[in-house]
């Protein structure tokens, strides 16, 4: 059977999920590239302005992968009032990936009085338990989301980018910790392990607080699932993309939503 993906803007998906589209989720390390083993602090927040903390992002599913593929040492996981944060120890040469997200489950149903309810949970059984027995038009969906950023000690490497085949993933051509102004950047996206052709990727530079427009840039992946662009400025930016897949044969879920959000940095030459 032919699998069909609908590649959509994240915004579209979030609307389905009932979240305000203005909110951005992001991870931001205190430093992206280091020349000595050290602790790096990472903020995890949800905010309208990049990168100004506003609300904490839950750290229940945070994981940091070291260059050798094993979990990196983390410390001080803290969910504050305006942000979450944690520390990561970089002591292996190569690239680390910090990731939060994981799976979220959604339900939509109609009550007896005709009112439509939408809900979500990190745990499917509790979500199922919340649905009244007399509800109709019950529709479950699942999401695999990746909220990521990358940090490198010494020379960057590609080991943490080995695709898992789940959801929407980044497979860099240009290394995220090796981006420089006025140099072409190429980043490949995979949807369930295959090139995400025709995927819309939204790019937003930091500092939205200090300008009138968000200035989001729409990038479209080519037939290899790759976006290419040449940054004309330095600084940090966020990439967001979303895809959905209609599940025709799944016993529980009607739709699989996949999102990717990543924080990157462009350095001066």
């Amino acid at each position: 059977m032919k699998t069909t993906y609908r590649l959509t803007l994240l915004f579209g998906m979030l609307t389905v999920c009932g979240t305000s589209q203005a909110h951005k989720r992001w991870l931001l390390p205190s430093i992206f590239s280091v020349s000595e083993a050290q602790w790096v602090a990472v903020d995890a927040s949800v905010s309208n302005n990049l990168f100004y903390v506003d609300r904490p992002w839950p750290l229940t599913s945070v994981s940091v992968t070291a260059p050798d593929g094993k979990p990196a040492k983390t410390d001080n996981l803290n969910e504050g009032h305006r942000r979450s944060s944690f520390d990561v120890y970089l002591d292996q040469p190569g690239t680390y990936r910090a990731s939060t997200g994981g799976d979220v489950f959604f339900v939509q149903y109609s009550s007896v009085d005709g009112e439509v309810t939408r809900d979500r949970a990190f745990d499917l059984s509790s979500l199922k338990a919340s649905v009244p027995a007399d509800a109709t038009a019950v529709n479950y969906a699942r999401s695999v989301s990746r909220l990521e950023t990358y940090m490198t000690l010494g020379a960057p490497d590609q080991k943490v980018f080995t695709p898992s085949g789940r959801g929407l993933e980044l497979k860099p051509v240009s290394h995220p910790n090796d981006l420089y102004v006025n140099e072409k950047v190429a980043l490949q996206f995979l949807v369930e392990g295959k090139p995400a052709v025709g995927l819309e990727v939204l790019m937003v530079w930091e500092g939205t607080r200090y300008r009138d427009e968000e200035g989001a840039i729409n990038l479209l992946t080519d037939d290899q699932g790759t976006i290419t662009f040449t940054p004309d400025r330095t600084g940090r930016f966020l990439l967001e993309a979303g895809a959905e897949k209609v599940l025709t044969e799944d016993p529980v879920f009607s739709t699989l939503y996949m999102t990717y959000i990543g924080t990157f940095e462009v350095l001066p030459q």
Partner: protein, 159 residues
């Protein structure tokens, strides 16, 4: 015949003298740290061929701030770093003798650039590039003028 061979060989191996005269400017700033200074050689296609020197104070933590040097060569190394290494230098004129033998044995004939980059803690960063041809027959000299972190920098090659 044997004599001639030895003569040729010694001529080939006899390296040129690579010398840099580096001016580190005096700056009127509240907090002054002597800059980290690195040099390296790139070919005409911006490929780093050789790291030639590094002045730093033994703290790897700040090496990434010598941004281009770090990207081109530093991050692929670990202490002891390639080239002539030493402590940071105070403002003034400094003479730096590069390792001529390593340069001579690494470079094939062509057009090259000697890059010099200075990065100062709580200060700025500056990069200059000085062109040269290799090999050289005549003595060669090229001067570049820095604007803030570097003063006058002169490359002197004595074949």
């Amino acid at each position: 015949m044997k004599y001639l061979f030895c003569l040729l060989l010694s001529g080939w191996l006899q390296a040129a003298e690579f010398k840099l005269e580096i001016e580190i400017p005096q700056l009127q700033v509240a907090e002054y740290h002597a800059p980290y200074v690195a040099t390296w050689i790139e070919d005409d296609e911006r490929k780093a061929k050789l790291a030639t020197s590094l002045w730093y104070d033994q703290q790897d933590k700040w090496l990434k701030d010598i941004r281009q040097w770090w990207r081109k060569t530093g991050r692929y190394q670990s202490s002891p770093y390639d080239g002539v290494t030493g402590a940071t230098r105070r403002p003034g004129m400094h003479r730096l003798l590069l390792n001529d033998k390593t340069i001579a044995s690494t470079l094939r004939p062509g057009q090259y650039w000697l890059y010099i980059e200075a990065a100062r803690e709580v200060g700025g960063r500056e990069i200059l590039k000085l062109p040269f041809q290799w090999p050289l027959v005549e003595p060669y000299q090229y001067t570049a003028q820095g604007a803030h972190e570097l003063g006058k920098v002169t490359l002197i090659i004595q074949p």
